[in-house]
């Protein structure tokens, strides 16, 4: 009975795994096919002459490294700034009290309901007037004020830390900024890691903001990948799209696999506590 039930669990899980990993397999499969194999009928399940030239061509057909550098710059700058700024604000909401705190916190929570694009359109118009489009200044500004979701994450973490930590410091005459910087922040590396990875992958994966704010030379890999791989007649080059997509997705997957324990814990608990 128990044995039958357990094997049913395995069967369902393996079935789910095939469905969930199948798309990755097809992506890789396509990335290894020669161009004329894509037109083969019936469909080739395996590339008959697998080669890596698609990856080389994908890097040169568009200025892959240039766009990857743009993505990397934006994502790194944003992730570092937004993590610091969110920890900063999260500390305030967790450990300090002042008139108006509740109101400010409620506003913070309700901004999570706002469709991003609603503010993005006027923001684009404003930035265009201030000649800030085609620069990375918007990401610096967005980073500096923190993200509500991450602020919430830090606030949850900081409010569960024991009071004795700061009491001793206050007795020693430590100011709040020092308490935050020297005592609370160094203890919060699991949240810092989660926040860095989350914000990095948001920006790395974002399509709308760079499509709105950046021109073709300054845009990110996400945007260029979506329409960059076409031949002279404008028809899409499936095998190069696949190779480019593999190289775009793999760093994110690798990052996730390296840090997955803490990351999953962060994602799972953030919205629930």
């Amino acid at each position: 009975m128990v044995f039958r039930r357990r094997s049913a669990v395995y069967m369902l899980l393996v079935g789910a795994l095939v469905l969930f990993l199948g798309p990755f397999a097809w992506l890789l499969d396509t990335a290894l096919k020669a161009p004329d194999e894509l037109r083969a009928l019936p469909v080739h399940w395996w590339p008959h002459h697998p080669n890596l030239s698609n990856f080389r061509d994908a890097l040169t057909h568009i200025d892959y490294f240039g766009y990857a550098r743009n993505s990397l710059t934006i994502a790194t700058v944003y992730a570092v700034l937004v993590t610091l700024a969110s920890a900063w604000a999260g500390y305030g909401f967790a450990r300090l009290h002042a008139p108006g705190k509740k109101l400010i916190f409620n506003v913070l929570l309700s901004t999570m309901m706002l469709p991003q694009i609603l503010t993005l359109i006027p923001t684009y118009l404003l930035f265009a007037k201030m000649h800030l489009t085609n620069t990375y200044v918007p990401w610096v500004l967005w980073g500096l004020c923190g993200a509500p979701y991450l602020i919430f994450l830090f606030r949850q973490f900081f409010s569960n830390m024991p009071k004795e930590l700061e009491e001793a410091a206050i007795v020693d005459g430590c100011g709040q900024i020092r308490i935050f910087w020297r005592i609370f922040l160094p203890q919060s590396w699991p949240v810092i890691a989660t926040s860095l990875i989350l914000s990095f992958s948001w920006t790395w994966g974002d399509y709308i903001a760079p499509a709105l704010l950046l021109d073709d030379a300054h845009t990110t890999l996400a945007v260029k990948l979506a329409y960059g791989y076409v031949n002279a007649h404008g028809s899409p080059l499936g095998n190069l799209v696949a190779a480019g997509a593999v190289m775009y997705v793999v760093p994110v997957l690798a990052l996730f696999l390296i840090v997955q324990r803490g990351f999953v814990a962060g994602v799972a608990t953030s919205g629930l506590k």
Binding site: F20, F24, L144, E164, A226
Partner: protein, 347 residues
């Protein structure tokens, strides 16, 4: 999960709440000292919350106000003489058949994907919560697709469902069936639903966290009382999981109504082209993009987005109302207060 704050009995409260009300007989020196301490603490709150508040005012509140103003004008980004048109844009939102049908389509898409994702996530969570070998590996691999950036996911599905070279038609061909133009009507919407479900690992992880919080003793007690698997699932697991499921319904709806994945699936190899979205996938957000990019109708697009925002607020409110009584909080969701002990008793 939420432990609240534990204050040692008799420990002086550093929050300054008591110190803010100095007794009349307190010595002048110490009263001033305490008051300045508490006002210093209040000041430090503003120092810490300040950047976000400033950012909110400059990058959210101001653009929102601007969007509201735009929605009352016929701004098109080309001519400089946009003028105030009152509620014309809003009237158009509710009378334009294309806007209304895209809104209805978004509603259907949400009604299909949110429950499906929830159910798939819960099923997977239950499976990977069983005492089996390598369940950590199963958890990680099933979650993997949820990490793939939307553009990467959309491109992958475009390749799978390609008419000539895709795996989907390859499989049909192997079964001696005719190939299908998956990315066109009437199949495109199901490609979209499949793509959305591919990320069900997210729901799995959230449900799993909820499952792991259910005290094991409850199942044992139920088993001793002679409950079968279904009974302990429906009487213990579901009620205790209801806050987690409720959270997913809310966030799922908010995400689904804003979905712009069809844009990425059917993106032409031309920059910013939104021309070739099949009707079945022409969701509200795609209509917004079409009006904004293709027609440059900033005013109308802003009005549509404001309507969408109000719809989100209304739905959230409604779900909160409807779920009252159905959602069971064993743990006080307000972490500022000391949490109640975890009990199965009534209110």
């Amino acid at each position: 999960m939420s432990t609240g704050q534990i204050t040692a009995p008799g420990a002086p409260s550093p929050s300054g709440e008591a110190a803010a009300r100095p007794g009349p007989r307190t010595g002048a020196h110490s009263a001033r000292g305490r008051r300045s301490l508490s006002s210093r603490r209040a000041l430090s709150f503003y120092v810490f919350a300040g950047p976000w508040v400033l950012g909110f005012l400059a990058l959210t509140a101001f653009p929102l106000g601007y969007a509201l103003w735009l929605s009352l004008t016929n701004a098109d980004g080309l001519s400089n003489n946009s003028r105030f048109v009152g509620l014309d844009n809003y009237r158009e939102v509710f009378t334009d058949p294309e806007t209304m049908s895209s809104l209805a389509r978004t509603g259907i898409f949400t009604a299909i994907t949110v429950p499906l994702t929830l159910a798939a996530g819960l099923l997977l969570a239950i499976l990977v919560n069983q005492p089996i070998r390598a369940r950590g590996v199963f958890r990680t691999l099933l979650y993997l697709p949820a990490v793939v950036p939307p553009v990467g996911a959309a491109l992958t599905f475009k390749l799978i469902f390609d008419r000539d070279s895709g795996a989907a038609n390859g499989a049909l061909d192997a079964l001696n069936l005719d190939g299908i133009s998956w990315l066109m009507d009437p199949y495109a919407r199901w490609v979209l639903v499949t793509l959305t479900l591919w990320g069900a690992g997210n729901a799995m992880i959230v449900s799993l966290a909820g499952l792991q919080d259910v005290p094991k003793e409850l199942y044992e007690a139920a088993r001793i009382d002679g409950a079968n698997t279904w009974q302990s699932f429906s009487r213990i697991t579901l009620p205790l999981l209801s806050p987690v499921l409720f959270f997913q319904v809310i966030t799922g709806i908010i995400a689904a109504v804003q979905s712009f994945l069809p844009l990425l699936i059917s993106l032409d190899p031309t920059p910013r082209g939104v021309t070739a979205v099949p009707e079945g996938n022409y969701l509200f957000m795609i209509h917004v993009f079409a009006q904004y990019f293709a027609n440059g109708r900033y005013g109308y697009a802003s009005a549509m987005l404001w309507v969408l925002f109000l719809i989100i607020v209304a739905i959230t409110f409604l779900v909160f109302k409807l779920s009252k009584g159905a959602v069971f909080y064993a743990v006080d969701p307000e972490p500022d207060k000391p949490s109640r002990p975890r009990t199965l008793g009534g209110k």
